[in-house]
């Protein structure tokens, strides 16, 4: 068996040590980085989302829109944020309805059981005069969350939202 000469041992050891440390650091680095709250995009998205919900409840639609957009910058696959952004956009004016619908669709693509998105998309369909599409959302909603289906049927039947939009933003749970 060949024994390495004494001078080569420290350098071999140092190289091995360095490699192992590098490996350990490489493994631990993402976790250590994730340990920092500020750097966690999921957490930041949640914070922005919750702020947006509060702003919606206060009637600050434009600020809420920005908060939900910020939440989605941090985490694009945030179904609830897409839904709420869709709602804020829709309430901000007819020129935003196409964008609102895209966000509702994306929310449902991410979470096909997100009842609120069927509700708000259904309302948008009614306002656009697309009763058939609204009824399809109502049918799905009836199976998922009947109390929200009742609200959508009220909109479908009468052709307009309740004047004060009562209960709409209240459905979110920040």
């Amino acid at each position: 068996m060949k024994i390495p000469n004494a001078s080569s041992i420290p350098s071999t050891l140092a190289s091995t040590l360095a490699l192992l440390c590098l490996l350990a650091l490489t493994l631990a680095a993402p976790a250590l980085a994730a340990g920092s709250k500020k750097a966690d995009p999921v957490d930041e998205a949640a914070k922005a989302y919750n702020k947006g919900v509060e702003q919606l409840a206060d009637g600050n639609l434009d600020r809420a829109r920005k908060s939900f957009e910020k939440a989605l910058d941090k985490r694009e696959d945030f179904a609830e944020a897409h839904n709420n952004l869709g709602y804020a956009l829709r309430k901000l004016g007819e020129e935003n309805w196409d964008a609102a619908e895209e966000h509702y669709n994306r929310a449902l693509e991410l979470n096909p059981e997100l009842a609120q998105a069927y509700h708000y998309r259904g309302v948008l369909h009614v306002l656009r005069g697309d009763e058939a599409a609204a009824k399809a959302d109502h049918a799905k909603l009836s199976e998922l969350k009947p109390e929200l289906a009742d609200q959508l049927m009220e909109v479908l039947a009468t052709g307009s939202e309740p004047a004060d939009g009562a209960g709409v933003a209240g459905e979110w749970s920040p």
């Binding site: 024994i3 004494a6 041992i9 050891l13 091995t16 040590l17 192992l20 440390c21 490996l23 350990a24 650091l25 493994l27 631990a28 993402p30 976790a31 250590l32 994730a34 340990g35 709250k37 966690d40 999921v42 957490d43 949640a46 914070k47 989302y49 919750n50 919900v53 179904a79 609830e80 979470n111 059981e113 997100l114 009842a115 609120q116 009763e131 058939a132 009824k135 399809a136 109502h138 049918a139 009836s142 199976e143 998922l144 969350k145 009947p146 109390e147 289906a149 009742d150 049927m153 009220e154 039947a157 009468t158 052709g159 309740p162 459905e171 979110w172 749970s173 920040p174």
Partner: protein, 421 residues
């Protein structure tokens, strides 16, 4: 070089320990991070859906939520199917009453959406019941039964009342159950159905059809009485032409803030708060909201209600529950006249006029604190009244009315009291 080998060995061992420690730290930090992400994730409401499909003998209709799992379980498997069949036969069984000719279908006739066309039900001995026979429809989603008793929460529990009650007598079997049971158990068809419906029953054929088994089977059958194919339902499923223009206008009135029928007659049941898989618990305000005082009585404004029909107070003892009765379903309402808990309004037109006036109490000009706050008077033009009626007629499900025939004769029971009474 043993010393060097030892040094190298311990150095490597130490390094391994450092490495393992770092790995452990990494894992811990990851776990902590995940937990924090979990806590930080917004609590978006998610629907509660049953994860495991229940193999029931029937399928739930499109546009209805699944009923509570404990209800679906009553219809599960081959036993459930046999109980439904046994229950159907018992429901139309004339021997299930003291006079030997009054079945459940006497007061709950399929063609009348399981009502009887009378203001108040009449029992097998001719005794009148103080209240109107309620429709039996979509009971799989009913959190309570009867007009005024919130403690009756299952059809099996309820069935004992019509079978055995003495005040008033309905089917009059108190003290006669053993005799009737033996008579039915002697019927080979009943014995066969019993074996399939209750295969683990220890008594065998001679002990077949205990009261518990009969009420369980009657419950299973009634849970299958599902009405979900009215013109309104077909319209919600996309059938543009299913509602006439008048009915479509009536739908808008029904849900409008001005008329407000939908404030009480809500959802897929067109009744009070329903039960489904994941529904809020039927307690407190939700339970209280199922019973309303529609201003039929308290004519003098001092709490005068007919002694036989005081309302929810009969069971709760609370003064504020005087005159409150359960919100009935409006499905098939066009065929369930006369109306209200005591059948005191003969036609749908009379019911609309009653609500438009804000109730009899308001008509008399007496204020009544007991009358429900939703009883706001409203005005309808002649056309609007017709439109609202057209919508109420669109809740009639002809396929449901035709689906449940008398098994023996193939014909539905005829309205009115039993012959010879």
């Amino acid at each position: 070089m043993p010393a060097l080998a030892r040094w190298r060995g311990s150095a490597l061992a130490g390094l391994s320990l450092v490495f393992l420690a770092l790995l452990a730290l990494s894992a811990l930090v990851s776990l902590h991070s995940s937990a924090e992400a979990g806590l930080g994730t917004p609590k978006a409401e998610r629907p509660s859906l049953s994860d495991s499909p229940t193999a029931t003998a029937i399928s739930w209709p499109q546009g209805f939520p699944p009923p509570p799992p404990e209800v679906a379980a009553k219809l599960a498997g081959p036993e459930g199917a046999a109980r439904i069949e046994l229950g159907r036969k018992l429901f139309f069984e004339p021997r299930l009453a003291v006079d030997g000719r009054t079945s459940c279908a006497q007061c709950h006739q399929p063609r009348l959406a399981f009502t009887d066309g009378l203001p108040q039900a009449v029992g097998a001995t001719g005794e009148s019941h103080p209240r109107n026979s309620p429709s039996l429809v979509n009971l799989a989603w009913a959190p309570t039964l009867t007009w005024d008793d919130p403690t009756i929460v299952s059809l099996a529990q309820h069935a004992r009342t019509p079978l055995l009650a003495e005040h008033p007598v309905e089917m009059g079997l108190e003290g006669r159950w053993g005799q009737v049971r033996r008579q039915l158990a002697a019927d080979p068809r009943y014995r066969q159905l019993h074996r399939r419906a209750f295969p683990t029953s220890v008594g065998g054929d001679d002990e077949a059809l205990t009261l518990d088994q009969v009420t369980t089977a009657l419950e299973a059958f009634q849970l299958t009485l599902i009405s979900a194919d009215s013109p309104y339902d077909r319209w919600t499923r996309g059938g543009e032409e299913a509602l006439s223009p008048a009915a479509r206008r009536g739908l808008a009135l029904f849900f409008s803030a001005r008329v407000g029928c939908a404030r009480c007659h809500r959802g897929f049941t067109f009744g009070g708060p329903a039960a489904w898989d994941g529904a809020p618990l039927f307690l407190g305000e939700r339970r209280r909201a199922a019973y309303r005082n529609t201003g039929l009585y308290d004519i003098d404004g001092r709490g005068s209600y007919p002694a036989s029909n005081p309302g929810l107070i009969r069971h709760t003892g609370q003064q504020s529950d005087r005159g409150r009765f359960r919100i009935p379903t409006l499905r098939n309402v066009a065929v369930t006249a006369p109306y209200m808990h005591d059948g005191s309004l003969e036609t749908l037109e009379a019911v609309i006029d009653h609500y438009a006036a804000g109730g009899r109490v308001a008509q008399r000009g007496w204020p009544s604190a007991a009358v429900d706050e939703e009883m706001n008077p409203f005005q309808l033009s002649t056309t609007e009244r017709q439109d609202l009626l057209a919508f109420l007629h669109s809740l009639t499900d002809e396929s449901f009315l035709a689906a449940h025939q008398q098994p023996e004769t193939g014909a539905s029971a005829q309205p009115g009291p039993a012959p010879g009474r």
